[in-house]
């Protein structure tokens, strides 16, 4: 008999605000330990929290994206989750418990059986804890409170996934949504900006939910997949041996590719949640929701459709809208260009420009070639001033290296195409006169001879003759 796998995910997404959830402290990553923790973050006596408006707005944005206005609670409550740990300065974490800011919504994923909606239970605002460093110190632990107070949106799904593959598809779809579509999180998984806890259980099809294990802190899609696969196998083995699953929290060890028990339900904390008396209930005005709705960026899917309407292929459109920064760069540029220039521009964006950005680890908004520069260059190609080859192979890179505008580079490097018909004709005549043999061959039906003649003309002009014109004039002269 088969086992059905049941998975729900809890995802902690760091919201991309400059300051912390309840203080003005900086959220910048990678600073020396404890340099980004202010009086509130280290919980000095007497300090008080003030909720970050930017974080609240990002949570509303998320709600609008996954379920619209109806999933946004107009009144939500910050609550204290009490426990002692050295990297938790106040001895409690401010989170939301009974009344989260977002209730409901869904994320659509693509499975082998088609599209599937994964329902969301809730999403709530909370602050992150600091970091305990156990390795670097002998017989001591180091505490780095830079992360303490960083704003998180915890997104909780219903147990709607039925395989590790679906769980990964969900995590990727969620990641794409919050990083690229609505831009509320930088999504950097190595830096901990996006981490998942997986609730995993198995059951016989149709049976009630089995006892679950929660696997904590999975910070890559691969670990998520491996951890679930290991956990499912472990649970099925226990059940098939007649054993019972214990409700517990487990940790995934990527080095040994296994999950290990961290604590059982009996050892679980009593967090003594209660409404934080330092923070009044969070009320959200309709005007704010309206304002955020209006400020939401156009969906990348809609932008893809626009690019297709501009005459580009679906594949190119998909690539051009694969990230917010690419789409933001590409769409206005393409919309502004002539139909002839669009494919040229699309090829540059997806080809040499992407390659350069990748090489230097930059995003499109940091591109060293501006869209105005690209626009000017594509005009020169379309009106024949330079060849596409010269533009793609030489001028783009020269512009990237800061050698000046397209015009300056064309001038400096002598890349101007010869498009003067009479000048080309003169050269063609010389070439025909000097290559009687090839002319004869061509007229005798040897097509190859034509290419050789084109090559001679290009050689004579150092590659600068407009190839289309060369072809046309040669053909006319040979058949004339």
């Amino acid at each position: 008999m088969n086992w059905e796998i049941v998975i729900g995910l809890e995802t902690h997404a760091q919201l991309s605000t400059a300051s912390k959830m309840f203080s003005g402290g900086s959220t910048a990553f990678g600073a020396p330990p404890n340099t980004q923790a202010n009086a509130v973050d280290i919980a000095l006596p007497g300090v008080l929290p003030v909720a970050n408006k930017g974080a609240i707005e990002r949570a509303i944005r998320f709600g609008l994206a996954v379920g619209g206005e109806k999933v946004i609670n107009r009144r939500s409550v910050f609550a204290r989750k009490n426990y002692f740990y050295p990297d938790l300065p106040k001895g409690y974490q401010i989170s939301q418990y009974e009344l989260p800011i977002v209730k409901g919504g869904e994320i659509r994923i693509l499975t082998k059986n088609g599209e599937k909606a994964i329902r969301l239970t809730r999403a709530h605002l909370e602050e992150d804890a600091g970091k305990s460093l156990h390795e670097a110190f002998q017989d001591m632990s180091g505490i780095d409170l830079n992360r303490a107070g960083v704003p998180l949106l915890e997104i909780v799904s219903e147990p709607d996934m039925r395989s590790a593959e679906e769980a990964v598809a969900y995590a990727k779809a969620l990641h794409f949504l919050i990083v690229e579509e609505i831009e509320i999180c930088d999504g950097n998984m190595q830096e901990g900006s996006f981490r998942c806890d997986a609730n995993v259980s198995v059951r016989r099809p149709g049976a009630p939910l089995g006892t679950r294990a929660e696997i904590k802190n999975l910070n890559s899609f691969r670990f998520l997949e491996r951890a679930i696969e290991f956990e499912v196998k472990r649970q099925i083995e226990i059940l098939e041996d007649g054993g019972k699953i214990v409700q517990e929290t487990r940790l995934y060890d990527p080095d040994r590719d296994e999950t290990r028990s961290m604590r059982t339900k009996e050892e679980a904390h009593d967090y003594r949640y209660f409404p934080d008396p330092d923070l009044p209930p969070l009320t959200i005005a309709e005007e704010l929701i309206e304002k955020i709705k209006k400020s939401m960026p156009e969906s990348l899917r809609a932008q893809r459709d626009k690019i297709v309407e501009l005459g580009l292929s679906i594949q190119q459109a998909n690539q051009l809208t694969g990230s917010r920064s690419t789409s933001t760069f590409a769409l206005p540029l393409l919309a502004d260009a002539s139909p002839k220039e669009r494919p040229i521009l699309a090829n540059w964006i997806l080809g040499p420009l992407s390659a350069k950005l990748n090489e230097e680890n930059l995003s499109f908004d940091q591109s060293k070639v501006s869209s105005d520069q690209l626009k000017a260059l594509s005009k020169h190609v379309s009106d024949g001033m330079v060849s596409n080859t010269a533009a793609t192979a030489v001028i783009l890179f020269a512009m990237w290296n800061g050698e000046g505008s397209a015009d300056e580079i064309i001038e400096k490097r002598g890349l101007k195409q010869i498009s003067d018909a009479s000048a080309i004709e003169k050269i063609v005549d010389q070439v025909l006169a000097a290559n009687a043999k090839q002319v004869e061959d061509y007229r005798a039906g040897k097509e190859k001879a034509f290419n050789s003649l084109v090559g001679q003309v290009m050689k004579a002009t150092q590659g600068k003759a407009n190839p289309a014109q060369v072809n046309e004039i040669l053909k006319r002269k040979l058949t004339g």
Binding site: A43, P45, G46, V50, N82, P89, G91
Partner: protein, 486 residues
């Protein structure tokens, strides 16, 4: 000078009859003379105070003075002040020097007032007698065998003994008003949210409110003008237009309706206190006020509700004192859990530990609804009682405390008896209403009796007006303890 009002001191400074440095020195000298007997101050730093005084003199010389520029004010050691040791009456913070100023301290500094020192208090403001301080009990200037009340007992004793012209306090269940009553002075707990709690070490966040303690209502008005005001760093701070609390002091009281809650005159009220309060009613009637009998039917539930809510919040608020980042840490421990256990067992006194345990218990899984949620419901009922009452009267008036000051040690062994001290004051905290105590006579042992005045939300100006008119007609507030008479 020792007996002068803030208005008089302000005028003397402005007219350069005395410099702030001289005035500060005067009070510092008196403090060093009397503190050994009264233990009103935990920390005095003459050098720091005098530096501030000289700066104030500079402002006065430049004609840049505000009403309190150059006036010394003592602060309860619950307000953190930059560069000052701030202990909150606890061993836990015996080595804590604050790197920042509380909002209230910042306001006084901006106004040019001089920090005279940090006053003694019940540990983490948990107590009604100022006996739970790690730094020893405070003594009542009217009778050193008696308590001055608490938790702001150090501030109360310091003002009563004329060691400072004025002081700040905080009030979670009566901690400004009860010591004001027991020490014969005036004290005001403003509407919740009027004075910022930023930098005021939290006991029970939803109840804590800072306020002034001084000889007279007029002094309180001047102090409140400095202390009140919106603070973006405190999310519970109320954003509203600034008020001048002096402006209504001289209004006549004709037609003022005084609500007399029958529940505050029943069993438990000592006869001597009841007698002085009755005399005060008569005095107020002479000034044109009318008595209206009212009822606060749920006020009997206020003490039990308070002793669920306040410890619940405290148990969480005091979690940050864990020995990790600052404050006391046990010298020896086996592991992390042992470090926490020993640090907190050593750093906190018995009353603080008791309340942390109560609070942890009432928030625990399975008890939360029965205690915390139920107490919150009672809290709403109590607030509703007042809303009903204020439809029929302008102020609710009665005794501040059921008895005059009691002997040190008399109630220390019986927490419930101690808790009942605050039976008349707690309802205002639960409802978030402004309330004050002013001296209205002397009871048993020639010890002061306090008159309790509760107003509607943000009616501080009205309350101060009534108190000031009463004080113009009486002189209880001008009496100073014998023996240490200036």
């Amino acid at each position: 000078m020792l007996n002068a009002s803030l208005k008089e001191l302000s005028a003397a400074l402005a007219q350069k009859k005395i410099s702030s440095a001289e005035l500060t020195k005067l009070f510092l000298d008196r403090t060093s003379k009397l503190n050994g007997a009264l233990n009103a101050f935990i920390t005095v730093d003459a050098e720091k105070s005098l530096a501030q005084a000289r700066a104030a003199d500079g402002r006065i010389a430049k004609d840049d003075a505000e009403p309190l520029t150059g006036v010394p004010v003592a602060h309860k050691d619950i307000f953190v002040a930059k560069g000052w040791r701030t202990t909150c009456g606890s061993k836990m913070l015996s080595n804590f020097v604050s790197p920042y100023d509380a909002h209230v301290i910042g306001r006084f500094n901006d106004a040019g007032a001089v920090i005279l020192g940090k006053t003694n208090m019940d540990e983490f403001a948990m107590g009604s007698s100022s006996e739970t301080s790690f730094y020893g009990p405070v003594r009542n200037p009217w009778n050193p065998d008696c308590v001055p009340g608490g938790s702001s007992g150090g501030s109360a004793a310091a003002v009563a003994a004329r060691m400072t012209p004025a002081a700040t306090g905080t009030d979670t269940g009566g901690s400004i008003r009860q010591p004001a009553a027991l020490s014969g002075l005036s004290g005001l707990k403003p509407t919740y949210g009027l004075v910022s709690r930023y930098g005021m070490i939290a006991f029970a966040s939803s109840l804590d409110q800072g306020g002034p303690m001084a000889k007279s209502a007029q002094d309180l008005a001047l102090l409140l003008n400095v202390m009140a005001g919106f603070d973006p760093n405190d999310s519970t701070s109320v954003e509203r237009a600034r008020e001048d609390y002096v402006r209504d002091l001289e209004k006549p009281l004709a037609g003022l309706r005084i609500g007399v809650p029958k529940e505050h005159f029943g069993e438990g009220l000592a006869a001597d206190v009841g007698k002085e309060v009755e005399a005060a009613f008569k005095e107020l009637e002479k000034l044109g006020a009318k008595r209206v009998p009212i009822s606060l039917p749920n006020s009997g539930l206020s003490v039990p509700a308070y002793y669920v809510i306040a410890p619940a919040e405290a148990s969480s608020n005091l979690s940050r004192f864990d020995g990790v980042r600052y404050g006391h840490r046990a010298k020896e421990y086996r592991d992390l859990a042992d470090m926490y256990r020993r640090t907190r067992a050593e750093g906190f006194g018995a009353e603080v530990r008791r309340r942390i345990l109560i609070g942890t218990y009432v928030l625990s899984h399975g008890y939360y609804d029965a205690y915390y949620i139920k107490a919150q419901k009672i809290r709403r009922l109590i607030a509703n009682d007042f809303i009903e009452a204020f439809k029929r009267c302008d102020l609710v008036v009665g005794p501040t405390s059921p008895t005059v000051a009691f002997k040190i040690g008399a109630k220390a062994a019986d927490p419930v008896q101690m808790y009942l001290n605050d039976i008349y004051t707690i309802p205002a905290n639960l409802a978030g209403l402004p309330a004050m105590s002013i001296p209205c006579g002397f009871g048993k042992g020639k010890l002061p009796v306090g008159l309790h005045i509760v107003g509607n939300y943000f009616s501080e100006a009205r309350m101060l007006n009534a108190a000031h008119q009463y004080q113009k007609a009486t002189d209880w507030h001008q009496r100073a303890p014998a023996g240490i008479q200036p």
